[in-house]
């Protein structure tokens, strides 16, 4: 007996996706789909505080508790304070827990200090109005009394002198006396950050100008790039403004806790160990899938749609251990993408291919606003619905996506084509199902079969290597739930 699928995340009204009315059928509604609880696959996931039956109050309690250990003395009476946030947090579990953490930080800072003004400055990826949409959806503009703002990498910059030379931050991120770094620990883009200085990364990305972000993705190399964020954070300029950090601690099954520290590097070590522990196994398990049809069905751009608490890009790279720093190049990064010539040939032989277990991608619902052509070039892709195809054709970042994808009128037709051509009945649905993953029965059986051995491999072989490569003490494992 297979359980019913878990309710997927609802389509969201956004200029980056088709109108929800065009998402006519969700993949979880396909006949025969089932779900599998993540804890049935990986029993040692930690207890979580969210989702729960009581709402976001527990997030507030945890944030208050975490902030009780913070030294607020840098914030003087009359100071202005910028709470620096990122769009990522709003994509987690519908965004409510992250929004509540941000509200709580504001309330506590106002209560504990005589700051003149506490503002929200929310960075973003490549969709320049995305955080505005979240700010509005969660009522943060009213909560911050009109002082909540989305900041984009093409906005006014400010030069920052660093060990790497001059880099550039966003003026609006730093236009306060004190900044508070408010982020989350979701592993997410491990293909980019490689879980090195994970908690520091937004200083080189969400709060940075395009020059800095381009330095990260084009100039230094796939692992060395992570020094960009560290060099900005360590700069005299940022240190003169930095107050403390607050992180929503995530696991693939939900929010674990809220952590805060004046020392970002101490927090980053805890985030790193927790990330390896919580996410190492699930990403490694995705690598144990031998073949599958992937359905994209979540309100985010292609690489960021969620299944099993992780993003599609993690599945694309799951044929290689991306946590292993001895592997220079994951199958997908923006470095990797540039290393294929105009005939699709790799410039050097050691470029790893994208996960060959992904036999076909059915693009039922995913957003524009991220250059995603690489994914359609590398894996056979079926776009569902003409409206969505047209939406991609209009996007300046995806003008070539549909040149590599075929079009199906509806989801049923797309799946039929995928089954017939791939000859597999294993299906994984990236639809944001919480606590489990929606799959076909055949893939549920396969995952249950391979999980124990893969979990043991992480515990006994991979984890010690991952920790050693990052100079992380194994004893830190005891301190995470």
């Amino acid at each position: 007996m297979y359980p019913d699928p878990i309710a997927p995340m609802e389509p969201r009204e956004s200029q980056y996706g088709v109108e929800p009315q065009y998402v006519q059928k969700r993949a979880a509604q396909l006949k025969g789909m089932t779900s599998i609880a993540l804890r049935d696959l990986i029993p040692d996931f930690p207890p979580i505080i969210y989702p729960n039956n009581e709402g976001e109050g527990i997030v507030r309690e945890n944030t208050e508790a975490a902030l009780s250990g913070i030294d607020f003395s840098k914030i003087k009476p009359g100071h202005t304070v910028n709470i620096l946030a990122s769009h990522h947090g709003f994509t987690l579990l519908g965004g409510k827990p992250y929004a509540e953490m941000l509200r709580t930080i504001k309330d506590v800072v106002e209560r504990e200090t005589q700051a003149k003004e506490v503002r929200l400055r929310a960075g973003l990826g490549m969709r320049f109005r995305e955080t505005e949409e979240y700010i509005k959806a969660h009522g943060l503009d009213e909560y911050f009394k009109g002082k909540a703002l989305g900041i984009a990498p093409i906005d006014a910059g400010i030069p920052i002198e660093t060990k790497l030379g001059t880099l550039y931050g966003l003026r609006k991120a730093y236009d306060a006396d004190v900044i508070i770094h408010a982020h989350n620990s979701d592993v997410r883009e491990v293909h980019f950050h490689r879980h090195v200085d994970r908690a520091v990364k937004p200083f080189g990305m969400s709060y940075a100008r395009c020059e800095t972000r381009s330095t990260y993705h084009m100039n230094l190399g796939p692992r060395a790039a992570n020094f960009v964020a560290r060099s900005i954070f360590d700069s005299d300029f940022v240190q003169s403004k930095y107050g403390f950090s607050v992180f929503m601690i995530m696991s693939p099954v939900g929010v674990v806790s809220v952590d805060a520290d004046n020392d970002l590097y101490a927090l980053s070590e805890r985030v790193a160990v927790g990330g390896l522990k919580y996410y190492g196994k699930i990403i490694n398990l995705l690598g144990g899938i031998d073949e599958a049809i992937v359905v994209l069905d979540f309100p985010c751009p292609v690489p960021y749609v969620f299944a099993a608490g992780v993003i599609y890009a993690n599945m694309v790279c799951a044929n290689l251990d991306t946590f292993d720093l001895d592997n220079p190049l994951p199958p997908y990064t923006w470095y990797t993408e540039t290393f294929y010539d105009d005939h699709g040939q790799r410039l050097i032989p050691e470029i790893p291919p994208v996960n060959p277990a992904i036999k076909m991608v059915v693009h039922n619902y995913a957003w524009t606003g991220y250059p995603a052509t690489f994914f359609a070039e590398q894996t056979p892709t079926i776009m569902v619905g003409r409206e969505q195809a047209e939406h991609f054709n209009r996007d300046p970042m995806n003008l070539n996506y549909m040149k590599h994808a075929v079009l199906a009128e509806d989801l049923n037709g797309a799946m039929e084509f995928a089954y017939n051509t791939t000859k597999t009945d294993k299906v994984i649905i990236f639809d944001g199902a919480t606590g489990g993953v929606n799959v076909s029965p055949s893939l549920a059986d396969h995952l249950k079969k391979v999980a124990p051995a893969l979990n043991e491999k992480v515990d006994t072989t991979l984890m010690p290597k991952w920790l050693e490569q990052r100079n992380l003490n194994v004893e830190l494992l005891e301190n995470v739930a």
Binding site: R129, P153, R213, M218, A224, W334, E337, H343, P371
Partner: protein, 209 residues
């Protein structure tokens, strides 16, 4: 290569004349002025590359992108001796066939052709190739690295946000940084990038000719 198929249209009833569109336009196609207390927005459609920056950053939602007669932006590499193109690419530490803009899938050879063809500043490169007219973020340093490799000096636009400056590359990291931060594997990554830069340019496969 980029096909431009949309261009901006300003709703003057919503426009407050803040000049944000002017500041973020990568090709200086927009000029906002107040004349006799009235706001004027002039858009040079010959320059516009349909990047959406103005629409995306307008705080008053006064700009809409509307369809236009499609046209291509592409630098023609056949106008140059390929050895010149290859030489400039390698000097900028790129392989000629390497992608330099994810949104347009443009290759380094095209960026080199734009610079060899006379582009003397980032906005001129954007106009010549369409590179930088997608996300407007990630190719920023590719453009500057090519201009730098060609020895071209250009000023940062005053009171504007189009570009700020060229930044460090893998070939600029000091021994001290490398020694003190081994986890970032600077030398190994540089060796990887060098292998890419030094890779030969393969002839077109027979079945694609």
């Amino acid at each position: 290569m980029k096909v431009v198929s949309v261009q901006p249209e300003v709703n003057m009833e919503l426009c407050q004349g803040c000049k944000t569109c002017q500041m973020v336009c990568p090709v200086f196609a927009i000029k906002v002025q107040k004349i006799d207390k009235k706001i004027h927005v002039d858009i040079d459609y010959q320059k516009c590359v349909g990047c959406w920056n103005c629409e995306q950053r307008c705080p008053d939602h006064a700009i809409e992108m509307v369809p236009c007669e499609p046209f291509e932006l592409r630098a023609d590499i056949s106008q140059f001796d390929y050895s010149e193109i290859e030489s400039l690419c390698r000097k900028a530490h790129f392989h000629p066939k390497q992608v330099v803009c994810y949104c347009t899938a443009s290759r380094a050879e095209e960026l080199a052709a734009a610079v060899l063809g006379g582009a003397k500043s980032p906005d001129a490169v954007v106009r010549a190739t369409g590179i930088g007219a997608g996300c407007g973020i990630e190719c920023n340093q590719s453009i500057m690295r090519f201009l730098g490799a060609a020895g071209i000096q250009y000023e940062r636009p005053k009171q504007s946000w189009q570009w700020y400056g060229q930044t460090a590359t893998a070939w600029d990291i000091s021994p001290e940084i490398k020694e003190n931060n081994p986890v970032f594997r600077f030398d190994e990554d540089r060796q990887l990038l060098d292998r890419i830069v030094d890779a030969s340019v393969e002839p077109e496969p027979l079945d694609r000719r």
